[in-house]
C-alpha cells in the first residue's frame, strides 16, 4: 500500500475521537455492570453466608461458671462452701513489655510473695492468656501476704489483688476422706468431661463425695455474649452504638446433705489423732454413714488453692500415707472381729450349740498334725461355751468351729455379710478385701502345689488371719448387719439432695440389700449376748465400755503384721512400732436397740481393747448422749 500523504483533518480526527469515546463509554458501562453483578452476588445471593461470618467475627461467647453446690452434714453444718478468695492477678498489657513483666515477677519473688521455683510455670500461664486477660499468679492470699502486697503495691502496675469464688472446707482436714476435695482440672480429667460444661471452671471434684457427685455439684454454666473487636478484645460499643447481646445465667450445682454427723465425725478424728487408722459409724437401720474417718488426713483447702510440686510430693511420699483412704482402701486381716460371725455360722449350720463346751488348753492342732495353733492366752481358757468364747475371744474355740464348718460354709456365710466384695458405698476407690475359698486359691496360684486348699488354711481363717482381708468399711457394714439382726443396707454418704435455689430437700431412697437369712432370733441373741459380755465386766472390751449409760456390744481384734515362728514368743517390746499388731474393734450400741454400729481400725495399735475400743466409745458418746454439747467449732 502506498504511503498516504498525512495532513491534519480536524473533522476526521474529531470523528475518530468521538467514536472511540463512545466505544470506551460502552466498555465502561459493561465493566461497571460487572462490578454491580458481583456486588449483587455478595449481598443478595450469598448474604446469609456472609452475615453469619460477620456475626461470628464480632460476638464471642464467654462462659459464666456455675457456683458449686454446698456440702452439709445431716444437721446442716456446712462442710464445703464457696468463699471469696483473694488472689494476686496480673494483666499483661497493663504491666508492659516482656522485660517489664519479668522485672515485676522478679520483684514479687524478692519481697517473698511468689516462689522462685514457680516462676517458670507462672510465666507459662501468663503467656497462655490474652494480653488483656487477668491471670491469677498466686491463689488464696492470707492476711500477711495481703498486707505485704499492700505495702509494696505502689511498685507494681497491672498487678493487683482480686476476689474470686473458691472452694473452702471450714473444718480443714476433718472428714477429708469422705468429702474428697477439688483440684485444678487435669489433662486426665479433660478426657472424660464435656469441655463445654466446664468452660470457665478451673476446679473439679476428686475422690470422696466431691468426686462421686461431681455431676450434681457442678451445675450448668451460663454464658454471656461479648462484643469483640478484631484483636479479640471485649469492647462496649460498636462504633457509636451498643448492640443487644444475649446472656444466660448459670445454674448452680445442687447442695448435698450427707448422712455424716459432724459430732460423731469429730469425735472419731479427735480420738484417732496421732494414729494411723480408720473409724466408720453406720446407722444399722438404713446404711447411713455417720462418720467416716481415716487418719492421717490432709487439708483439702491446699488442693483447692493449688499445691506446689514440693507440697504435693511431701504428701504423696509421706510414710504415713495421708492420701490413702484407709477406711475404704486399707485391706487388713480382720483378726478376732470375725468370731461373732463364725459363731452365728456354727449355729446356722448346726455344728455347735450355744451351750456346748469345749476344752481350751491354750493350743490347737488338727488330727494327724503336729502343727500347733496357739491361743492368745498361753495357758488356755479351760472349759468354755459360745458366749464366753466370744467375750474372751477364745482362739481354740474358733479353731474348732472353723474345722467343723469347713471353708465352703465359711465362705458362703461370710459372703452374705459382704466380705470379699465391695460394699457399694457411694464414693469411689473402695477395695473388695478377700474372703478366700477353695476355688479362689485354685484360680490365684500358678503352681499346682500351691493351688491345693490345706485344712490348716481353714483354721487360720477361723480367727480372721491367713488369707482373709477386710476393709474397715466392710467390718462396719457387717457389724451393722449383726446389730440389725440380718437387715442389710448399702452404705451411703449422701442422704439427700437440695436443688439449687430450692428449699425442698429430696431424700435419696435407702438401698436395702438381701437380708442375712437362716438364723433364728435366738441364734442372733446368742452372739449379741456374747458381744455384750465382751463389753461387760470381765470381757475383753470391759475397760472401754465402763461407765457408759448405755449398753455396748462389741468384739475386739488384733491382726498379726508378721508371722511368729512356731517356737517363738511374740514380744511387743522387741518388734519395731510398724511391725506391731493392728488393733480392731467392732461394736454397736445400745445393745438392745442398736442406733449406731462402729468399726475402728488402728494400724500397729497392738490391742483392740486398749487402742481401738476407746475410740468407738467416744463416737457412741458423741451420738447417744445428746446432753453433751458438741465441742466448739473453730472455723479457720
Amino acid at each position: 500500500m502506498p504511503r498516504r500523504v498525512r495532513i491534519k483533518d480536524h473533522f476526521a480526527e474529531q470523528r475518530i475521537f468521538t467514536i472511540r469515546s463512545i466505544v470506551a463509554g460502552c466498555l465502561v458501562a459493561c465493566l461497571l455492570i460487572a462490578v454491580a453483578s458481583r456486588l449483587f452476588y455478595l449481598q443478595v445471593t450469598r448474604h446469609a453466608y456472609y452475615a453469619e461470618l460477620s456475626q461470628g467475627n464480632r460476638v464471642r461467647i464467654d462462659p459464666i461458671p456455675p457456683s458449686r453446690g454446698l456440702i452439709l452434714d445431716r444437721n446442716g453444718v456446712v462442710l464445703a462452701e464457696n468463699l471469696p478468695a483473694f488472689q494476686l492477678e496480673l494483666v499483661r498489657e497493663q504491666v508492659g513489655t516482656p522485660a517489664q513483666i519479668d522485672a515485676s515477677l522478679a520483684r514479687l519473688v524478692a519481697i517473698g510473695l511468689i516462689d522462685a521455683e514457680e516462676l517458670g510455670s507462672i510465666k507459662r500461664t501468663i503467656l497462655s492468656h490474652h494480653v488483656y486477660e487477668s491471670v491469677p499468679i498466686k491463689l488464696q492470699l492470707n492476711d500477711e501476704e495481703m498486707a505485704l502486697f499492700a505495702i509494696h503495691r505502689y511498685e507494681f502496675t497491672g498487678i493487683d489483688i482480686r476476689t474470686r469464688l473458691s472452694r473452702h472446707y471450714p473444718f480443714g482436714p476433718v472428714a477429708v476422706h469422705a468429702l474428697g476435695y477439688v483440684a485444678a482440672i487435669s489433662e486426665q480429667d479433660l478426657k472424660h468431661i464435656d469441655a463445654a460444661e466446664y468452660a470457665g471452671t478451673t476446679l473439679i471434684g476428686k475422690l470422696g463425695v466431691e468426686g462421686a457427685y461431681e455431676s450434681s455439684l457442678h451445675g450448668k454454666p451460663g454464658y454471656r455474649q461479648v462484643l469483640v473487636n478484631a484483636a479479640g478484645r471485649p469492647v462496649e460499643r460498636q462504633g457509636a452504638f451498643t448492640p443487644k447481646l444475649d446472656t444466660r445465667p448459670p445454674v448452680a450445682g445442687a447442695d448435698l446433705i450427707l448422712s455424716i454427723d459432724m459430732r460423731v465425725q469429730r469425735a472419731a478424728e479427735e480420738a484417732l489423732s496421732g494414729l494411723r487408722g480408720a473409724a466408720i459409724a453406720i446407722d444399722p437401720h438404713n446404711g447411713d454413714i455417720l462418720a467416716l474417718a481415716s487418719t492421717p488426713g490432709f487439708d483439702p483447702n491446699g488442693f483447692a488453692r493449688g499445691l506446689s510440686n514440693k507440697q504435693y510430693d511431701a504428701l504423696a511420699n509421706d510414710i504415713d500415707k495421708p492420701l490413702i483412704n484407709r477406711a475404704l482402701r486399707g485391706a487388713y486381716p480382720p483378726g478376732s472381729t470375725v468370731k461373732p460371725f463364725y459363731a452365728l455360722a456354727a449355729l446356722k449350720y448346726n455344728v455347735m450349740t450355744p451351750d456346748k463346751t469345749i476344752f481350751c488348753p491354750g493350743h490347737f492342732s488338727l488330727p494327724g498334725s503336729r502343727h500347733l495353733y496357739r491361743d492368745w492366752k498361753p495357758r488356755g481358757h479351760g472349759t468354755i461355751a459360745m458366749r464366753h468364747a466370744i467375750a474372751q475371744s477364745c482362739d481354740v474355740y474358733f479353731y474348732t468351729v472353723a474345722e467343723k464348718l469347713g471353708i465352703d460354709h465359711m465362705h458362703e456365710f461370710m459372703s452374705a455379710f459382704g466380705f470379699g466384695e465391695v460394699t457399694g458405698i457411694d464414693i469411689p476407690g473402695e477395695k473388695p478385701g478377700l474372703m478366700p475359698s477353695v476355688e479362689w486359691k485354685r484360680r490365684t496360684y500358678k503352681r499346682p502345689g500351691e493351688q491345693v486348699w490345706f485344712p490348716g488354711d481353714t483354721i487360720s481363717i477361723g480367727i480372721g488371719q491367713g488369707y482373709m482381708l477386710a476393709t474397715p468399711l466392710q467390718l462396719a457394714h457387717a457389724v451393722a448387719s449383726i446389730a440389725a439382726r440380718g437387715e442389710n443396707f448399702k452404705p451411703r454418704l449422701v442422704a439427700a439432695v437440695r436443688a439449687a435455689g430450692s428449699e425442698t430437700v429430696t431424700p435419696r431412697p435407702v438401698e436395702p440389700e438381701p437380708p442375712i437369712t437362716g438364723s433364728s432370733p435366738e441364734q442372733w441373741s446368742v452372739i449379741v449376748e456374747g458381744m455384750e459380755e465382751a463389753a461387760g465386766p470381765g470381757g475383753t472390751a470391759a475397760r472401754a465400755a465402763a461407765g457408759a449409760p448405755y449398753k455396748m456390744a462389741g468384739k475386739t481384734g488384733s491382726a498379726q503384721v508378721f508371722t511368729i515362728g512356731q517356737n517363738e514368743k511374740y514380744n511387743e517390746k522387741e518388734v519395731s512400732e510398724r511391725m506391731l499388731d493392728h488393733a480392731l474393734f467392732i461394736s454397736f450400741a445400745p445393745a438392745d436397740d442398736p442406733k449406731l454400729a462402729v468399726a475402728v481400725f488402728v494400724e500397729n495399735g497392738k490391742h483392740g481393747a486398749s487402742t481401738a475400743a476407746p475410740i468407738a466409745r467416744k463416737m457412741f458418746d458423741a451420738y447417744l448422749l445428746p446432753n453433751q454439747p458438741p465441742s466448739p467449732v473453730e472455723t479457720p
Partner: protein
Amino acid sequence: MMLDEFSQSRTRRTFTAGGRTLRLLRLDGPLSGVLALIVCIGILVVYSASGQNVKMVEHHLANIAIAVAALVSLARFATPQYLRLFAPIAYAIGVALLIVVDVTGHIGKGAQRWLDVGFMRFQPSEIMKLAVPMMCAWYMHERPLPPTFKDLLVMGLLIAVPTAMIVMQPDLGTALLIAASGLIVMLLSGLAVQIILVSIPLLVGAAWIGWHFIHEYQRQRILTFLNPENDPLGAGYHIIQSQIAIGSGGVFGKGYMHGSQAQLEFLPERSTDFIFAVIGEEFGLLGQLLVLTLYAIVIGRALYLAMQGQDTFSRLTGGAIALSFFVYVFVNSGMVSGILPVVGVPLPMISYGGTSMVTLLAGFGILMALNSNRKLIGS
C-alpha cells in the same frame, strides 16, 4: 452563534445565583454537582469508617479544601494553550522528582514514594497521573491522527519511563494506573484495531515475564487474589474481611455507623483502600449502586465534555482524565469486591488520603478549563 446567544439568554432567565457563580468560575454544572455529592458522601463515610475520628475528618476536609481550590483555580484561569505549553514542563518535573525519590529510596533501602515538602507529604507519582496523558496528548497534538508506528513508539517511551521508575519504588498499582492513562491516550487517538488485537497476546507474554521481576509481596498479592481462602489470616485476610463486610450488608445495609466489620476493625484499611466495603456494609447494595451510578454520571459527563474539545490536545487530555477516573473506580471496586487483585488504589474522592483527592479534582479542573476556556472557532 445564534444557538449560543439563545442559550445564554435562556440561562439568564432561569439560572439562579448559584448558576451564575458556576458560570463565573467557568465550572461545569452537572459535573461539579455530582462531584460535590460524591465528596460529601466521602466525608460521611470517612467519619463512620475512621471509628468516628474527628481528627481524621478534619484532615480529610482540609484535603478537600486544597483539592477544590486546585479545581476552581484551574477551571477559572487555565486555558488549553497554557495547559498544552505546561504539559512537557510538568512531565519533566515529574520525572525529575521520581529520580529524586528513587535515589533517596535506594539510599534509605526501602520503599520510598513520598517527598516531604514541609506542610504536606507528597507523592511525585501523583503528578504523573496527569502529566503522562497530557504529555502524550501534547505529542499527538501537532501530528495527524491516527498515530503512526513511530508516534506509537515515542508515546510508548513517554509512558514506559515513568512507569518503570514507579515500579522500582516499588508501587505496582500506581505504575499500572499511569501506564493505563497513557494507553488510553493511544487508544483514543485512533490506535488501529489490528494493533490492539495483536498486542493482547504480547501483553500476556509481557505479564508472564514481568512476574519474574516484581517484588515477592506483589506476587503474593496476586496469588492471594486468585485464592484468598488459602491463607485467611495472612495475605488473604483483606479480601475475605472485605467480602464479609459487603456480603453481610445485604440489600439495605446494617445502617450508618452500624457496620460491625468496619467499626470493630475486622476490615483492614477501612477508611482508605477498603472504604467501598464500608459503604457496602453500612448502606448495602443500594448504597454501593448509588455510588457506582454517581461515578458513571461523572465518567459520562467527562467524556461528553472531552468530545466538545476544540483541538486534539483538549480532546485526548479530557478523554484520558475521564477514562483514568473510570480505571480508578473499577480497580478499587473490583479489588474490594474480590474480582481484581489487591492493589493499593483508593476509591476516588471518597477514600481518606490527601494527594489522590487533589490530583483527581485538579484533573477535573483541567477538564473544565479545556472545555470552558476555549477560543471561539473562527476568532
